[in-house]
Amino acid sequence: MTLDDVPALARGCAILGTGGGGDVETGTLTAVRAIDEYGEVPLIPLSEVPDDSLVLPLSGIGAPTVAHEMLMSGEEPLLIRDEVERILGRPVAAVMACEIGGSNGVGPVGWAARLGLPLVDADGMGRAFPEVQMVSMYVAGRPVNLVVLADVQGNVTTVRPIDGLWSERISRAVCIASGASALMADYVLTGAQARGAVIEGTVSKALAIGHAVQEGADPLGSLCATLDASVLITGKVIDVERRTGGGFVRGSLVIDGTGDDRGRLLRVEIQNENLIALEDGRARACVPDLITVVDAQTAGAISTESLRYGQRVAVLSWPCDPIWRTERGLATAGPRAFGYDIDYTPVEELNHG
């Protein structure tokens, strides 16, 4: 990963953020700074991590508004790595993104540069989700084992939660004590434990998405081809509704079709991320499949926070990683996990069946 890759990665991560995951801008600046100072980051497949070496999944936790104002000190990755190695008694071989969507997809490049470690071409979501336990490692039944948080002051907190749900609860409380923003490692796994429990190839996928959007003469077409995505509708945003509840920004978005889609209306339900696309009361796509709203011309991602009346957009949807379609995957991050009383149907069946 070079300096030139960072902006493309950021564009890709914004699209995989499905409307949430936080602004990629600050993560981009941090990564650029770290590469500049500590050198380029090798991107390696999981197969290159030895069985008994550690993979360090890192992510920022907290309120995006706070992270945008109170930037990290930059030393947090060192504190976490040292603590993990001290407790587990073996070296960390590589850094991994917990979630590839949004700012947490870009951040790991900078954190890996700071540590002088390679970045594993994989993550724990293949997209963005709002809660700590919503990761493939949890779905795969790996023990959460050890959670380490570090904050801007240098405070290091080690948690030994009994499962992913407790990890979410306790980490959130520690994060709040740290000023609503911290860096954390959870699901620290050996190379052997990581195999089969993480979603591989997602960093190169984000890079490919970023390049497709940036370099193609037809950004939207290249993006759809890269993602193998269906265009649910092309049209104009005619309504955006937001409200807060349970720490999330909830709401919905209505798109009025234009061109060939004239006369159609698509509604997207939002909880930080885009979760369900509905047309005439029927789901056209739903979580954990990915739904993203992009600018119809540039194919740049539009976050749920920057949606506005009048934007010309395309709504894309494409299949999630198979691990999310398992029983435990759907129980963790299916429609019902987000409070929607609908059964999950794969996006390709909803649109071609």
Partner: protein, 524 residues
Amino acid sequence: MADRTSGGTVARDLRIGVDVGGTNTDAVVLSAKGEVLARTKQATSADVSSGLHTALTAVLDQLGDDVRRVGRVMLGTTHATNAILERRGLGKVAAIRLGGPATTSVPPAQSWPADLSAAITARTAVLPGGHYVDGRPISKLDPGALRAVLADVAGEADAIALTGVFSPAFADQELEAAEIAREELGDAVPISMSHEIGTLGLLERENATILNASLYRVISAVWDGLQHTLAERGLDVTTYFAQNDGTLMAIDYAVRYPVLTIGSGPANSIRGAAFLSGLTDAIIADVGGTSTDFGVLYAGFPRESSAGVEIGGVRTNFRMPDILALALGGGTVIGPDGAVGPQSVGYRITEKALTFGGDTPTMTDAGALAGRGAPTGTPVPERLHGVLGSAVRTADQMLADAVDRMTLGKTDQPLIAVGGGAFLIPDALDGVAEVIRPAHGDVANAVGAAIAMVSGTIETIIPAGEGRREAIAEASGVAGRRAVQAGADPAGVEVVEITEVPMSYLPEPALRLRVKAAGPLGNL
């Protein structure tokens, strides 16, 4: 004259508005009743001052003896923007951030274009300080460390930019640090504090603050040019600068916050259009030679952009009018297939357009053929009628789309067409109740500068539940005091805007709050 008071003194009831744009410098003189008594449009000069001098002289000459009645001069200028784009006359800034040990992962000015950074930054430093989101300090301010940095830059830095983490909500450390800087460097070195300039979002606010600090000399030079002309005419008047939100700053305030003049051009057009038409809520289309700027007038002020703005390659987040620029103006070139733009013949329209005997089909020709604007000078060849007619239909669709985007779907609003190319706007447009073409619309920006009010704003974080009302009341008080500080009449200050945005992932429900107060200028 009737307006003269008894006792031999002369009422100083006239106002001059000047707008120094990229192409033209416009000036108007307004009476107390708001009548346009004099007006001029001159070419903007490279040095700004001579064009300003020519425009002011032209309107003053039109006034004759009534020159003595001029009491105020309001100046809007894009000079600060151009200084940044051209890296001209910028001061050297010491950028000091209060946030350590947080924020050291990205130092000040890291993302700036190298040449701009080289032109502006004398030194950057991250010192202990800043606040958490709930107001606790991240670190106490370290006066010793601050004094050491200040001693190091003394004689080298022309200005200081101070940015503290969460300072828009908790300003005490920036104020304390500014006090220390004044002790160390004296009053000659101006100090910019970020809480007075931008909103939440550390790097964007810091960028705006550094740009602000670098612009002191630039804006002082414009002011000196203005003072020179006024002194030459023996005029003792009060002068103001127009700022991005369509309100005025007293001169001492403007010299401290020059970056706030950067969006004053479009803001003045919007306010001027409002004044000339008598409306408080409308869409404004300012049509020039190469583009049309759409803005929204909401409760008498330009609606502000919610997204950040980039200036000279630097991301900032201070308040700017929400403008949609469309590549469509009088000089826009029409292709052989009726395609509209984006090329434009711009200022060469009087030699290039068909109507003026040239060889390039433009929107001016298409408009004239469609019966908009003046009758054609040179008849348009008949073979081009179809192409030009189709261009007009395309252009009208572009205009209707732009109106739809700006109105957020509200279809009953009037549209005020101003600027030299206003004739291109049709009398009926989808989504618009009525098209209004006020007299003097072509100098609406100078009128906007002349009639502007004074405002103050505050942005902070408040609890969403209990304590919300009290917090809003307190913030309103601060916004009002800031308006008075900027020159408003305390008796006339009102809260004109309150914006609340919920924040996610916080333990206690919290809101970002922005309050704006505005009022008419105090009496002379």
